[in-house]
Symmetry: C2
């Protein structure tokens, strides 16, 4: 495959970063079409991101363009389902931003239709395409420090704007941010089904503000996840194994560093070997383009991953399979149920 030709649906901040990151890909990518709520807005996007030769459309126009190989959906969360389904109806493979759908029912519809139409589909769990995640995968698979015992992740932002606490739009910190912590745990535990899910936290007007999710896996293994939208907490992930642990000390969802600790003693707690493994991918600091969100230059890995999946004729990603996507939303649905968070889409 010489070049992968993208159509972009939604011309907001995340779409800007996605198309910018493509310039640093290993494979050849080209944005050939952009669709927004108005063609004027799409034109602004194309100009701003210097997407030479890209055509501008409303949303539907992108799907009608025969030149588009694959569609990237960077729309608002509550618009994902409608446009995934329409893209499949137009015979287009899809990479769709997470959270894919507000609930399992919506996610299942999307996955079912992708299967039915035999079209590639992936939920944009970009973290899993990062070199740091691949490193973790290899370390854990070979049990470099013994079997995994616990996963911890904490992700809280001080989200300005009450539109992020809007159950009517299926928007809440749990689905916006908490989903990253669940995805991290499920990545480490290789998409195993937790035996028990426990969620606690605070809700206001039927929308979660912050909380914890505990996932219990067989054999006394667990994940303890913390998320929130009310203050700027540590954003880190840690994996405890029998003989040591791995820390993703900053921005675990788009990490550039893994720290490996090896247990040397237990009671004294201080006898540990520390090794830092850095993945600076061309140094973010030197990126010539400005990104809207932290480390979004790393979206290049996701774009290249989709390239390889399509080149190899795959219908699913090995980094985020359909089953994986569905299990994660099952977990967040159960967490929401326990927290008492009801989205308007749950009533449909």
């Amino acid at each position: 495959m010489a070049e992968l030709k993208w159509g972009v649906l939604g011309c907001g901040l995340i779409s800007e970063d996605f198309v910018r990151a493509m310039r640093q890909c290993q494979h050849k990518h080209k944005v050939v079409a952009a669709g927004a709520s108005s063609t004027q807005r799409a034109q602004q996007f194309v100009d701003k991101c210097e997407l030479t030769g890209a055509k501008v459309y409303d949303y539907e126009g992108v799907l009608n363009d025969p030149n588009v190989d694959v569609v990237y959906i960077g729309l608002m969360n509550h618009q994902h389902k409608e446009w995934c389904l329409k893209a499949f109806d137009h015979g287009k493979p899809v990479l769709c931003e997470k959270p894919l759908a507000p609930n399992y029912k919506g996610a299942k519809e999307i996955v079912d239709k992708a299967k039915e139409k035999k079209l590639f589909f992936m939920e944009a769990f970009w973290s899993r395409c990062f070199p740091a995640y691949k490193f973790l995968r290899e370390e854990i698979d070979k049990q470099a420090m013994g079997p995994v015992k616990s996963v911890f992740a904490n992700f809280g932002l001080d989200i300005l704007g009450e539109n992020r606490f809007n159950a009517d739009l299926g928007a809440s910190p749990l689905n916006d941010i908490g989903v990253y912590t669940v995805s991290f745990a499920q990545w480490i535990f290789r998409n195993e089904k937790p035996e028990k899910i426990t969620a606690t936290g605070k809700t206001v007007n039927q929308c979660d503000r912050w909380g914890t999710i505990t996932l219990e896996y067989s054999g006394d293994r667990k994940a303890i996840l913390i998320f929130g939208g009310v203050d700027f907490t540590p954003i880190d992930g840690r994996v405890t194994c029998e003989r040591g642990r791995y820390d993703l000390p900053e921005n675990f969802y788009c990490p550039t560093r893994v720290i490996r600790y090896e247990n040397k003693g237990v009671i004294r707690c201080n006898q540990r070997k520390i090794e830092k493994v850095d993945f600076n991918f061309d140094n973010f600091e030197n990126d010539k383009v400005e990104y809207n969100f932290m480390n979004d230059s790393g979206l290049r890995y996701e774009a290249d991953h989709v390239y390889e999946c399509l080149r190899d004729g795959k219908l699913e990603s090995s980094n985020a399979s359909h089953e994986d996507t569905l299990r994660i939303v099952q977990i967040t649905d159960e967490a929401r149920r326990q927290l008492g968070v009801v989205y308007s889409q749950d009533k449909e």
Copy 2:
């Protein structure tokens, strides 16, 4: 006060470390009496720790020695109450290891008797005497980065030996280890009463193995605490404020470092100023004595704190007041109730 003369009850590992740490105190301390289950065992302790001139006794003997100014109780957890009460009956002030008592009822008996006898009493929350904790106290009191929003702490050890999972002895990771996380939160929130307590976790044979405790304080402030006795997790504490956060990145219960992060932006997550503040107190690495437990050289701060309290005629510690001690055990009692952990002492 020229010299504070200590009697030590219990000659185990923690008592060894406590008397060793005294050698590095600012004030003058002397161990004049040691009591163990046998005088032979007390003699071994005195010899090993080079406590020249210290007399050896059984437990009662220490309390009868008129030369003893204050008693340090380093016995097993389930023996604390009996010997605190006896010490007070003998007119001795007490510093007693934590957890003070398995439940509120036991702790209340001890505190009530100390008050009744007008004798100094402190539960050994040694963390709170560390320079790093004093630094945090000052920073938070002056709202250097705005009001506190959240506290996080994680403390898990791979505890070998099933005697640490023994509800009959009032021994469980929650009381052994989890109490440090609760104490940290209550220190930051200045002993405020949480409005809501939520505990989740795993229990086997009515004993907790690991869990989380969420404390909700007025005004949308919270502490999320993780504890366990089944694997060697990160042992860190973090305090999130409106404009930044403080990390105690290693061994938050006996810390030598605080890292201060200042928020510079929210969405990009990466614009933070970092300042490390180290409290190396004479470099642990160069300590001439070997300690049994991590950073136990820092027990010196607690010994000096007790010296100052007694010198100044105080009956309570400002670092761990009676009310503070009682509130912490109320919280762990409620957490145990939710987890379904019942100690034999609860049935008395």
